[in-house]
Symmetry: C2
Subunit: 230 residues, 2 copies
């Protein structure tokens, strides 16, 4: 099934290392800071709405998240917020950037097993600086040919990636935790994909049951199974 594969692309956040958990924690801290203005639930909803509205401006990653927290805080407080709290919001973001890297179980083993047999890249829609820093901290840089930062992970973006890599679609295998971003668009292009779910998924990454049922891809529960599959 995977006999033509030349390039294996790994999603980064929540595929190689823990990420979404840190966003959930940051959202909780944010809700606590603003608890005098609204309920935690309302604050969560407003922040999510602001993030989605700002996606076309900021794209994905921590910096856009920080800017959306600031904007939401201004609005939720009806511009009454104490500027000191805005400083705390900036600090929540900086602390996220400073977080140590927690590799997911089996990642290093898999990369070591694939090394030399395939060109291994990381394909992410986060910030380049942030992802490069994480790769360096993680100690797995030695296995990775390079990092591809994608502004989006839709069919057109993977088309560009395949052109850029100078390969045919059937020579690419993507491995990632998001059905919407790491699996479905690849199948549409005739590339391969393996789904490794993470325990938390950002609402924006969720797909409908119909989309999920229609697609043909492999789901594994631990990334180590990649070695058996290939």
């Amino acid at each position: 099934m995977y006999k033509n594969i030349k390039v294996i692309a790994f999603d980064a956040d929540d595929t190689l290392w823990v990420n979404e958990t840190y966003f959930r924690d940051a959202e909780n801290e944010f809700a606590k800071l603003l608890s005098s203005y609204e309920t935690a639930n309302k604050i969560d909803q407003e922040l999510f709405k602001t993030e989605i509205e700002n996606l076309t401006y900021y794209g994905y990653g921590v910096k856009g998240f920080m800017l959306s927290m600031i904007e939401s805080a201004l609005e939720l407080s009806n511009y009454q917020i104490n500027p000191k709290k805005l400083e705390q919001i900036l600090n929540i973001g900086k602390a996220m950037i400073d977080k140590p890297i927690e590799l997911l179980d089996g990642v290093e083993e898999v990369l070591e097993g694939l090394q030399g047999k395939y060109k291994i890249i990381v394909a992410t829609k986060g910030d380049l600086l942030d992802q490069e820093r994480k790769l360096e901290k993680s100690g797995i840089l030695k296995y990775v040919h390079h990092v591809e930062v994608m502004s989006e992970k839709k069919v057109a973006d993977y088309k560009k990636l395949i052109k850029h890599l100078d390969i045919n679609p059937d020579q690419l295998l993507m491995i990632g935790n998001s059905l919407k971003s790491d699996v479905l668009p690849l199948l549409e292009l005739g590339a391969s994909a393996i789904h490794v779910p993470f325990h938390t998924t950002w609402a924006h990454e969720k797909v409908t049951k119909e989309q999920e049922d229609a697609a043909e891809y492999k789901t594994i529960s631990n990334i180590k199974e990649v070695l058996e599959v290939l």
Copy 2:
């Protein structure tokens, strides 16, 4: 001199299109917003200091600039700033992202002339999303193989780029407006570079007279001269 060249990499901001001018305008608006707290000169200095301190966190680009403006505004006002002004700062940033693209004179002509003879890429340290959007707005996407986003433009980063492109250093020609980022590191690696100065240079991009004198590279006053040189 340039007979081995296979890949020509163009810097984006202030090489292909106007950019620094928009940052200068934004800084002026920012200084006006805070004029009740400090002189314009002091505000400029503090913002620059904050940007440089935050480079390791945020890297380059509009989003980091916005976050640094927020942080500076909090500090310069001693946390007394009206939250409405912070909203205006967010709007200054969003307006920068929305700016139309003003191609510099000769850019399209040069890209058309080089098309088919070289692989043309854009090598930038801005935000990917922002640069891709600018390329699309600019109408020159058709000439460009892909965009390389670099977290920094130092010798090690160009080494990575050359490895990623699977070429030798002498097959790469970089064309850009920053001596520090687009010229000197390439010469150190044995690659080629052409300098096309823009009328404004961000303080962080300036080099000393000694660095400038020691290097061997061509300076042209209009990008069109690239066609004569090659």
